[in-house]
Amino acid sequence: MTDRQPPMQDRTQVRRDIRRIKNLPTVPGIVAKISRMVENPETSASEVGRLISQDQVLSAKVLRMANSAFFGMSRKISSISQALVILGFEVVKGLVLTSSVFDMIQKSMAGLWEHSIGCAAASGAVATLLGRDDAEEILVAGLLHDLGKVVLALNLPEEMRQVAARVASGGVLFYEAEHEVLDYDHSELGQWLAEHWNLPESLAEPMRLHHRPEKAVLKPECTAIVHVADIIVRAKGFGNAGDLLVPPVSMAAWEMLGLRKTDFLPILEILEPKLASLCDITSIN
């Protein structure tokens, strides 16, 4: 979507609603710890690996995602330190974050987790086609792009009900219904959450701007890829992002990526077997 830059007064409305949110989702303690460790250049992969491995449930979830069709590893990743070496700090941190908020995503909206993993796989597919060497990081950005919807569903249930009712009446995209009901949308709640949690720009900007990717300045390509991936996974009808419609594409983002219409075929050919294989992480519990 190219319009809908929210007018100034919306900011105060967002702030007012955010003040109403009593149970601020806290950044999972372990994610904060990893961030602090990674900031220190002396930190080794095995130290971070040891920290994550202390939580066996969390490690198991992270390893399950690392071994899923997402990454298409030919060999099984059997330890967190191996995942750190193969996938990198940022990706493992993203998977730890995802595992920590998995229950929240599942509880918030039926189909949103499936939409999220579908968007992650599609982000990975587009990034792969474009020959990006940071495909795994872009994939994690796709995984978390709709966290703002989780904040909405869990903290503003009455507004959420109204938005859902508006969508059910037909023809309206979820974020358009959000604007009608709230004067802002989940991308702004996502921005707030990203600031609150101190997430890196590679995750924060796609969360904030996946509906307005032409506004991205820090991670424009990553944001544009998540924007296109969101469209592709909605077109597939995989999962449920709150409505069942394909939103318009931002031509600025499309052209910046240098995509062509003929690229849809190879993207879908990469994506389809991945989606078929993602059943092993539709529930990572």
């Binding site: 399950r64 069709a69 030919s74 060999r75 099984k76 059997s78 023809g171 995209l173 469209i231 592709i232 909605r234 077109a235 597939k236 009808g237 069942l244 419609l245 394909v246 939103p247 318009p248 594409v249 031509m251 499309w254 995509l259 062509r260 219409k261 003929t262 849809f264 075929l265 879908l268 050919e269 389809e272 077997p273 078929a276 294989s277 993602l278 059943c279 092993d280």
Partner: protein, 150 residues
């Protein structure tokens, strides 16, 4: 093909992908049959999923019906997209892939032996249109080979 948790795997199912131990050693090749012994071994090795060939349980009419429903749903999802949008190529490509998959399934039903050799898993180039399929039930309706749509 379908990835399933190991506790859902049954002896007699066919592996659609080779199975390797965590260190890369081959346990069972692609196309081999799952046995009781293999399942016990996988249980001991903490391998939690396998990829199997899906058995076709649908009738030809059901395959057709499923495709018809798919294209209806696809149209409904694209209702907000203008005819001039690049996303129309996305819709056409998805329709093309669905038609191809339907035609391959129907061809396999008509002649299973023929189908065995024509199961490359991933699709052929778009130039090989579904027209070469013996089952082409949609008559002259071209899916609009997406490659043509620049």
């Amino acid at each position: 093909m379908k990835r399933i948790p190991i506790d859902k795997a049954q002896p007699g199912q066919i592996l659609a992908e080779k199975l390797t131990r965590h260190d890369g050693v081959l346990l069972a090749g692609q196309g081999s049959e799952i046995t009781e012994g293999l399942l016990r071994m996988l249980g001991r090795m903490n391998i939690d999923t396998v990829v199997i060939e899906e058995e076709e349980t649908r009738s030809a009419a059901e395959v057709e019906e499923e495709f018809r429903r798919f294209s209806e749903d696809l149209e409904a999802r694209f209702v907000r997209i203008d005819e001039g949008s690049v996303l129309i190529a996305l819709k056409k490509t998805m329709l093309y892939l669905a038609e191809k998959s339907r035609d391959e399934t129907l061809a396999l039903m008509a002649d299973p032996a023929e189908g065995e050799t024509g199961l490359p898993g991933s699709a052929a180039a778009p130039e090989t249109t579904p027209a070469e399929s013996p089952a082409a039930p949609s008559g002259g309706k071209s899916p609009g080979a997406p490659g043509a749509a620049k």
